[in-house]
Symmetry: D2
Subunit: 131 residues, 4 copies
Amino acid sequence: MEDKGSDRVSQKDALARHLGIRLIEVKPGYARAVMEVRPELLNGVGVTHGGAIFSLADIVFAAASNAHGPVALALNVNIQFLKTTAVGDVLTATAREENLTRKTGLYRMEVRDGKDELVALAEGLVYRKTK
Amino acid sequence: MEDKGSDRVSQKDALARHLGIRLIEVKPGYARAVMEVRPELLNGVGVTHGGAIFSLADIVFAAASNAHGPVALALNVNIQFLKTTAVGDVLTATAREENLTRKTGLYRMEVRDGKDELVALAEGLVYRKTK
Amino acid sequence: MEDKGSDRVSQKDALARHLGIRLIEVKPGYARAVMEVRPELLNGVGVTHGGAIFSLADIVFAAASNAHGPVALALNVNIQFLKTTAVGDVLTATAREENLTRKTGLYRMEVRDGKDELVALAEGLVYRKTK
Amino acid sequence: MEDKGSDRVSQKDALARHLGIRLIEVKPGYARAVMEVRPELLNGVGVTHGGAIFSLADIVFAAASNAHGPVALALNVNIQFLKTTAVGDVLTATAREENLTRKTGLYRMEVRDGKDELVALAEGLVYRKTK
């Protein structure tokens, strides 16, 4: 089934649960997730941790790229941090497929706040384990 | 004081505590931290989550770049995932300064497992808020 | 004048002339250029050289970011190579602004072939020399 | 033969010749090249063009990654620009292998000027066409 990938990611992703990230929508090449900024997601200066923002982006990246069926392994991600956010902000991340070959997939992730302003942008490349 | 940056990062970093990351050493331009892979740090396929590995790298990046004194804001990070790890593995991350100007700093982060093998490599750029 | 940046790039860019790159359109935050793949732009295996494709992307990046007026210095660029091209292909690159602050600007560059298919994608960050 | 890759790159690379880049040393996982900054390699503000610096880094990247034998295709490169250079400067680039798997290779490229100071740093990932 095509949604094997999304199931695998959404229901069994322990870090997603630990950070309060919820996958809202997954289909081949696309995913969307939401994370409310809670106190445990802050860094030392009181704003949302880069690690939390990356994790949110990484989860939609994994969901979108695995939803085709074959296992997709992240090779690299380039992330740009554009705006700081704080406790109470609700962040939404989307992953969209930009390119797909038999062996690789390229995805663009956007993280936005409640005002729909860009918080972070990322590009991620996967290697696809096809036989 | 020079260690303001490291204190700021190490003692008040809520996400670091939430993920079990401990900063071991911080000095201007250098930092080292350790994270044991616990079940809550896994992804949907049972290996260490890319978000956990990034967070570990991000914490030494922030510590090393802020330890100079002036606030250093992450502009972007490019991370390469090289080896999967699993529950029980202990990961060590280091950040080393590659370039420092009045306004920017470039850091290389390495994440290694207990066998000293590379798990991830990252390059991170900061903007320095100097007056 | 606002087009100082574009003039600076288009008329005096020696490498652009050396590679046969023509800037077609420049406005603040946007630029478009064209390069025909000639034999001197190939690599050792007979396809368009990554260096030529990057140069095309870099030229629209510089034009779009400098067209605001203040000098914009490239800090880093992340480029994804998606499709090979060959002699005779005509490549078009565009740069679009994704984020602009007082001190930084983020741009997305797309390089496409004559069929409008993606040849390369890049993200570039500049530091803006404002007083 | 193992040096097929290096031959392929060094003797037939048309862009390398067009830019005056000379490959000095190539072995599996390592390469070094030199480029003198001539007037045709400048950008619109009179310093060495980012495209020329990238091309130099790309040529050692291709040489080092292809010298193993199997064809290595560049997937992406992340480049950091650290120092401007000008006409007459002689730039040296090296590529060193950081990771090699059956299907991928990761390389670090350093570009330095005559004072051995860093001009640019890059990370490049290849896909290896093994059967």
